[in-house]
Symmetry: C2
Subunit: 370 residues, 2 copies
């Protein structure tokens, strides 16, 4: 996606103030693109902030303007769904640093040219600051809940830690309070794949015919493996061949899993900006909620007061494991925060939070009805 | 490593006959480079064939001619070591398809130009055919043992299945009888990283100033993650910063694990040929010992007779897990082959077979003394 122009006009607000960043820099002229689903009640007390994952966007339950595909969580959000838009006003904003309408590296900087690598390095907390500023603009003081899976869950936890007064409930799914060495390693492979692509050109590829699409595809392929369990990959593909009866003894995609990964990589480049991938993975790698709060995770949640937490992990998720989640639970227990925790059985690995796991539906609906 | 010339003169034999390949093709004028350690007994009954892993070579217990580093298994092979060169004659050959003196894609084809991607796609069984042909030249009919870890273990199992009369013992460490969908997926990421590099140029980069070194480095980085356990990475690196007191809020290697991976990737390109990486990963992905023998793994070992097997897995190896190894054990049990199996505790993941695991030394020494 080498264009500097988003080929649609997303619904967005311009934040009234520059955004202070963890790096010490400020980001001025910040636009936050968002979608809403369901009506805000007159008392303004039924708002849910949904936070998307690394490559997600604000199109939770509406058609993606670039791909034409359904929203990424339509099974969870809508009329009569677990996050019931008959009852709740759902807000989902594109994170800053991303490429679906919120200010990111593809956006014009002060000189009118795309920021590219002049965009400041941001953190998960910076993303959350932008979310809070959006809520200010929308006139939503206190959320009924903040909800997110994966990087969305990091934002949910960060919001609870840094803006505890702004939400009554926190629901984190398949997430972690800290990126591990292995997590960082996989992201570093992706970043190096992008930067190794001559089309990246130090980040200055906007307006060029092609960007670092091959590098971005490789980054996506590497990451995608971590989103699936080994058993899930085996069930889905095993060693089955792709449209052939025998091995080709060549380098075509003989195996279905190869063909699938290549497709995942290529289709990703149609909708995502490589520099955004660099910045958002960096934000995730920097995420360590304990470190932000003096080194003790429990201290991150000292101000959570009556905020209720619900945390969900999946038994086959090896990216953000149940053990990672237990650390969060223990920290919440240490400050006597009300928390429920469940490890769900699901065969799909990390991506389970996006897939058909009826038990997750029940957990989400139950937590919101309390 | 874009040169067509290996910058040393390895000890090698030229096979007297063309090598038949699983693809149906033949490879003519095959050279097999090898090293030996310890004397061959007059009865020629003390030979051990060591098979190296994906990026390994014949320099088991002698200095690597390109890197100047010690041999890759000096802790296991030598005077008084578990594979004691006072007693045994150890042979280790560079696999065909590789780049340390055996015929591979960088070698001159019939027209005198490097094969590059005209090199035939080979299999693990083809590698083993070359090993057997080398043993013929060396006048070694029956091995005291064939030993290998990782891809070396695949060769050991394949030799037992296809040339059962040629060895009395088989020792497979941290290996598998079949590459899984996840194994294939990681290799495919590496291949795509290489092929995405414009320096790859369809494989025709020999003699050029630079080959696909960036792509090869990314491939190595992705693979390297799979060689280590998550706990091992956490113990070794955690979230420690590299030579700095605080995050840089940039894209330098802030974290030690990033710096380590970058080094692993870059240093690899000094000693390995990218096309060899493509061919050898393909051979591994094609490996399915059951499929080669009618779909039932036990049938692969029907001719093993009195051959004794010893299989070793590591509890933290998520590349080739204990569960993979158990399938081999069950197949051997089904044909009543003598087999001992042990899962060793070691924190390092797949790479444990190369590292300081004293329990492995005892298993190896014990198996060879029986």
């Amino acid at each position: 996606m080498a264009s500097t122009k988003t080929p649609h006009a997303p619904r967005a607000v311009r934040l009234p103030h520059p955004l202070p960043l963890d790096s010490g820099r400020e980001l001025a002229d910040v636009h936050v693109a968002y979608e809403t689903y369901g009506e805000l009640a007159p008392a303004r007390d039924n708002a849910i902030l949904l936070c998307h994952a690394l490559t997600g966007d604000q199109y939770v339950a509406s058609t993606h303007p670039l791909t034409g595909k359904p929203g990424w969580w339509e099974r969870m959000v809508g009329h009569g769904r677990p996050i019931d838009t008959n009852r709740f006003h759902v807000v989902c904003a594109n994170v800053i640093g991303s490429c679906m309408g919120s200010t990111g590296p593809a956006s014009a900087g002060p000189d009118g040219e795309p920021y590219a690598m002049r965009f400041p390095v941001i953190t998960i907390r910076d993303m959350v600051r932008a979310q809070a500023a959006l809520l200010d603009v929308l006139g939503i003081d206190t959320l009924l809940a903040v909800i997110g899976g994966s990087m969305g869950g990091m934002q949910a936890l960060s919001l609870a830690a840094n803006f505890p007064e702004r939400t009554n409930r926190v629901l984190g799914i398949a997430t972690t309070a800290r990126h591990s060495a292995q997590n960082i390693a996989f992201h570093e492979v992706g970043r190096q794949a992008i930067m190794a692509d001559p089309g990246w050109n130090g980040g200055d590829y906007y307006g060029a015919a092609g960007g670092p699409e091959k590098g971005l595809a490789v980054a996506r392929m590497a990451a995608h493996i971590t989103y699936l369990s080994e058993a899930g990959l085996t069930d889905k593909f095993g060693r089955r061949l792709q449209d052939r009866d025998a091995k080709s003894f060549g380098f075509d995609a003989d195996f279905q899993v190869e063909s699938y990964l290549r497709h995942q990589g290529l289709s990703f480049t149609d909708r995502f900006d490589a520099n955004s991938y660099l910045y958002i993975t960096r934000a995730m790698d920097y995420f360590d909620l304990a470190e932000e709060h003096g080194g003790r995770l429990a201290d991150a949640f000292g101000g959570a007061g009556e905020t209720r937490f619900c945390l969900v992990s999946f038994d086959t998720d090896w990216l953000y494991s149940t053990a990672d989640m237990r650390e969060v639970v223990h920290a919440l227990n240490a400050v006597a925060a009300p928390v429920s925790f469940v490890e769900l059985g699901a065969p799909y690995g990390h991506d389970s939070f996006l897939l058909d796991v009826p038990a997750l539906d029940r957990v989400v609906a139950g937590f919101l009805s309390q």
